[in-house]
């Protein structure tokens, strides 16, 4: 079958050549066929592999049987009567037919696949990229299934061996030969000889005079869930800085909870539009409340908090000014509070996405950033190391760029007419790419190597990603307005820039995944690494999806639909939020000395991940069909009716995500405020020293 598949590929290859088309071009039919056939070939190969394993087991079983019962079997065979022989032959025949049916089924399936005519849709690069991106998890699923099957076969093998042991048992039962028994008892005496276990260690108690061992537990403990590694204590951090960082992260958690509660409610309004009739809670006002609260409240505050931990740490200096950190915290929080209230009251800048806060509100935010920028720069200027670690490249640049972006977006000199739209495209995308993405990449460059306990794979790749990100990302903003009346050349530049984004994304992901190499075993024992892994997988797929969406043809189908909403959740949630969680779970236990309950961290992780998939996959599927309905000229309202089930799925996924955030808030509470069971040794020492102090004070009186 494999050869047949390869044969078909080569036939198509020949056919494609005669047609004079580029074979591996994404838009050629032959290229698509090759992909499909290669996929089929992989699956077939796996199936064949499984078949051989199965056959091996069956053969093994047969051989064993034959060995054990050789004589009796040969004795029995001639004794079979006519009727019995007939049954036996029938059984044999049926197995043959079954094999034939299986092969036929396989053929018809592949024939069915061959009948699929690649439609015009399938010739589009963007669509193909998306399909391949979707195929990656599918293939992982198949691999998982194969592993499961292997285990099932393993079980079966064990069963075969057990049967054999039964036979052995009966053989042993019947064995009563004194000579053999004597030999066996001799053997037992020989085997019973053992060492005392203290030949090497001696009989004295162990003495760890270098202090190498810690956290030794002799109490047996049943693990209902896997015990993960707890945070290793770090060199002490200035408690005043720790307090500032924790305040940033705490308020960020509040805004996450608030922002997604609003998001959840807004999602429900798609299913039940008459749930309320209050002006302050109407959809158009709450939607920007949701997006801005999670952008400037949750993500920005969490990033800044982590920045205040990382920047002084990699500079090997205390932060230049703690006071400035507090100013930033207050200013950013004030911006989000006042922004939320003004939006709900109906005071809106002009309706540009993420630019809904009016300028006095955004000025608070920008002022906060300026103060922090000065603070970071002063800290780095006084650094003890010669070089600037790459985290600080990303983090400080992100703060600089964010200030530039806000200024460009809010200064009034170039906002008339279409100028506003051009700036809007620039602003909304730079906000995402040059503020959130750049900053979080910096955070990842610090925490991922630390959690894996190995240096980053390649410093140069990190630098390449940094400069290419600036170069390409800055120009892609207007791909949100493809086919609109902004200049055609500007649209083309944005599309070309979106393709150029492959460079920073591939180099960045390669760097992170290569850092992971040989460290995969650490994944199971850590509760932070799964968050990093999910964030990085989405970094690759989500960013690639962005490129796929930017093409002109994909714009026809996906632009204006909920596909964009799904994409922004894959990126802002899948990448940014997951990586922020990873960093928060890394740093907070180190600052407070309190661990989150591992079971609730697990619940948080799975609810968020499954929720995100429920949210995005149906929405992308439905949105694609909605775009096609628009293209074929169906009445608009039909496409609204069509979307209803996908909006319902979105609300279900959103609810799961929202529940995850409640669990996360609980974990934060546990890490920040919960009273933990005090360390008995610590408490005893404290008591002793108190007593000693008292004693030393009271002793003169005696």
């Amino acid at each position: 079958m494999l050869t047949v598949a390869v044969l078909i590929v080569s036939i198509y290859y020949a056919a494609a050549q005669t047609k004079g088309k580029a074979f591996f071009a994404m838009n050629s039919t032959a290229g698509l066929w090759t992909c499909c056939l290669l996929l089929l070939a992989v699956i077939l190969q796996l199936a064949l592999y499984m078949k051989y394993r199965l056959q091996h087991v069956i053969r093994l079983r047969q051989v064993r049987r034959r060995q054990a019962q050789d004589e009796s079997i040969t004795v029995h065979i001639p004794q079979l009567n006519r009727h019995q022989l007939e049954t036996l032959l029938k059984v044999k025949q049926q197995t043959k037919i079954k094999v034939l049916v299986l092969i036929g089924l396989g053929c018809s399936l592949s024939a069915g696949a061959q009948d699929l005519k690649p439609t015009k849709l399938m010739n589009q690069t963007g669509i193909l990229i998306t399909i391949i991106l979707i195929l990656i998890p599918v293939l992982v699923g198949i691999a998982l299934m194969i592993f499961k099957l292997r285990r099932v076969i393993g079980h079966y093998r064990r069963k075969v061996h057990q049967e054999e042991s039964g036979q052995l048992a009966s053989y042993l039962d019947e064995m009563n030969d004194t000579e053999t028994l004597h030999a066996l008892s001799q053997r037992k005496i020989a085997l019973d000889y053992s060492l005392n276990d203290d030949e090497l260690a001696g009989t004295q108690a162990a003495d760890d005079n270098k202090g190498l061992l810690s956290d030794i537990s002799n109490a047996p403990d049943i693990n209902f869930i896997t015990r993960k590694k707890v945070a290793v204590a770090r060199p002490p951090i200035d408690p005043a800085l720790a307090k500032l960082v924790l305040w940033f992260l705490g308020t960020a958690t509040f805004w996450l909870l608030f922002g997604t509660t609003v998001g959840e409610y807004v999602g429900i309004k798609f299913i039940s539009p008459d749930v309320d009739h209050l002006s302050w809670l109407s959809f158009g006002r709450l939607r920007p409340v949701h997006t801005n609260a999670v952008f400037w409240g949750w993500a920005s505050l969490a990033m800044l908090g982590l920045g205040y931990y990382i920047v002084p740490r990699v500079s090997n200096m205390p932060i230049a000014s703690l006071k400035k950190g507090w100013y930033t915290l207050v200013l950013v929080n004030a911006a989000v509070v006042s922004g939320t209230i003004t939006l709900m009251a109906g005071i809106n800048n002009a309706g540009g996405e993420y630019r809904e806060y009016v300028w006095p509100v955004m000025a608070l935010f920008a002022a906060g950033l300026c103060i922090t920028l000065r603070n970071f720069l002063q800290t780095i200027a006084s650094r003890k190391s010669k070089e600037i670690y790459i985290s600080n490249w990303y983090i400080v640049s992100a703060v600089i760029f964010a200030i530039v972006i806000v200024l460009v977006a809010y200064l009034p000199f170039w906002q008339d007419g279409l100028g506003e739209t051009i700036v809007q495209g620039y602003y909304m995308h730079q906000g995402v790419g040059m503020w959130f993405m750049l900053f979080v990449l910096g955070v990842t460059y610090y925490f991922l190597p630390q959690q894996l306990n190995r240096p980053i794979y390649s410093y140069s790749l990190g630098i390449l990603a940094f400069w290419s990100q600036i170069f390409f990302y800055t120009v892609i903003g207007t791909h949100h307005f493809v086919f609109s009346s902004i200049p055609w050349w500007l649209q083309t530049v944005a599309i070309v820039g979106s393709v150029g984004m492959l460079i920073p994304v591939t180099s960045g992901s390669t760097n992170f995944f290569m850092t992971f190499r040989n460290g995969w075993h650490k994944l199971a024992g850590s509760y932070t690494l799964p968050f990093f892994l999910v964030g990085l997988v989405f970094y690759f797929t989500g960013s690639m999806q962005g490129t796929a969406e930017a093409f002109r043809y994909t714009n026809l189908i996906w632009h204006f639909t909920d596909f964009t909403v799904a994409h922004s959740h894959i990126t802002m949630y899948g990448i940014i939020t997951f990586l922020l969680w990873a960093a928060i779970y890394t740093v907070v236990p180190r600052l407070t000395g309190k661990e989150p309950p591992q079971i609730t961290v697990g619940i948080h992780f799975w609810l968020a991940l499954i929720g995100l998939l429920f949210y995005t996959v149906p929405l992308m599927y439905g949105a694609t069909y909605r775009g096609i309905m628009w293209q074929s000229g169906k009445p608009f309202i039909d496409s609204v009716v069509f979307m209803a089930p996908y909006w319902l799925w979105r609300a279900i996924g959103g609810s799961l995500m929202w529940t995850a955030h409640i669990v996360f808030a609980y974990n934060m509470y546990k890490m920040l405020l919960a009273t933990t069971i005090p360390d008995i040794k610590e408490a005893a020492l404290k008591k002793l020293s108190e007593q000693y102090l008292k004693g030393s004070i009271s002793s003169p009186n005696q």
Partner: protein
């Protein structure tokens, strides 16, 4: 590298690169667009009410679901007669110190595009009842209800604009719904949204033409789908079941005009609008056919759909018949 070990050179290089690119793709194109585009000569100036309505449109975040851009692709043709051009937006300026310019192009089309809604749906009565609760006129709509833009009264005073809301949407049958000044301003803005005619003959082309189903291949024009055309042009008032809306939009089911063997009056109403039943409380019918630039074939398809649906059973009309009547009733 030395360059990257000095924080001043490192960050100023990054900032410099970013600023140069920012100038190139955002600031300079924005300024050049501002300078090189003027409003179209025929573009009307927004009325005072419409300006206030636009502010309400911005304040309530309507742009989250409604775009205002006709892209130069065939699939956007239903939202306007021609693709949008930069001059269409040239008259948008900052209105006051607090708010930025509102071009309101939008990025999401959860609801229909509004570039040309003033032509497509000119009826004030429809907009008011639709704003009060969109599900009164479009059952499957998921648009928010803007009830707070209306007052519910037991008695009507002079000058009140009463909205004919179906009883099912009111707490009691005695209640009267009166449009507030804000509601009227918002509707004034929506009515003002009309695509302006270009001065020359030529307008930009729509790209990505839809492939015509090569059905017969003998040159016969493809069969027009009357039900779809009805859904796009008539259904929001006369409803999918043809029964209209009690007290607001008259039924077509069993209507004398629809069932009349002589189609002249029906064509006249479609092309020129109708005020004949206003004394019964129904709203004024806009000249849907002329505003939406329906062809004789399309009008015939719609008429035949109406004449043969919901139990209506009247003689079919042909494209030629409609064409002749359209010429006859055409207003100069």
């Amino acid at each position: 590298m030395e360059l990257f070990d000095n924080h001043k050179t490192l960050y100023s290089t990054a900032l410099g690169l970013f600023l140069v690119l920012t100038l190139g793709v955002a600031i300079l194109p924005a300024i050049s667009n501002e300078k090189n585009n003027a409003p179209l000569p025929e573009a009307p100036v927004l009325s005072e009410d419409a300006v206030k309505g636009k502010a309400l449109f911005v304040a309530n975040g309507c742009v989250a679901c409604h775009t205002q851009q006709v892209r130069n692709v065939e699939m956007d043709k239903i939202w306007g007669d021609r693709p949008g051009i930069a001059a269409d937006y040239a008259d948008n300026h900052r209105t006051d110190l607090l708010h930025n310019t509102a071009t309101l192009m939008g990025t999401e089309r959860t609801g229909p595009d509004l570039t040309n809604v003033g032509n497509r749906q000119p009826s004030r009565d429809w907009h008011l009842v639709h704003l009060f609760n969109p599900r009164t006129v479009v059952e499957q709509s998921i648009m928010p209800a803007y009830t707070w833009l209306f007052e519910i009264k037991d008695s009507v005073q002079e000058g009140d604009v009463v909205v004919n809301v179906p009883e099912a949407f009111l707490a009691s049958t005695h209640q009267k719904v009166v449009a507030s000044r804000e509601a009227l301003q918002l509707v004034a803005y929506l009515q003002s949204l009309k695509q302006v005619k270009l001065p020359g003959e030529k307008s930009p082309l729509f790209l990505y033409k839809r492939e015509q189903p090569a059905a017969a291949g003998d040159g016969a024009s493809p069969v027009l789908n009357g039900a779809e055309l009805y859904a796009n042009n008539c259904q929001s008032c006369h409803q999918p079941n043809g029964e209209g809306l009690k007290g607001a939009f008259p039924p077509l089911k069993g209507s004398k005009i629809v069932l009349n063997d002589d189609p002249e009056l029906m064509v006249d109403i479609i092309m020129n609008g109708y005020t004949g039943r206003m004394q019964e409380g129904f709203g004024e019918m806009p000249a849907v056919g002329t505003l939406n630039k329906l062809t004789p074939g399309e009008v015939a398809a719609i008429m035949n759909h109406e004449r043969s649906s919901w139990g209506n059973n009247s003689r079919k009309v042909t494209e030629e018949q409609v064409k002749v009547i359209m010429e006859k009733v055409k207003k100069q």
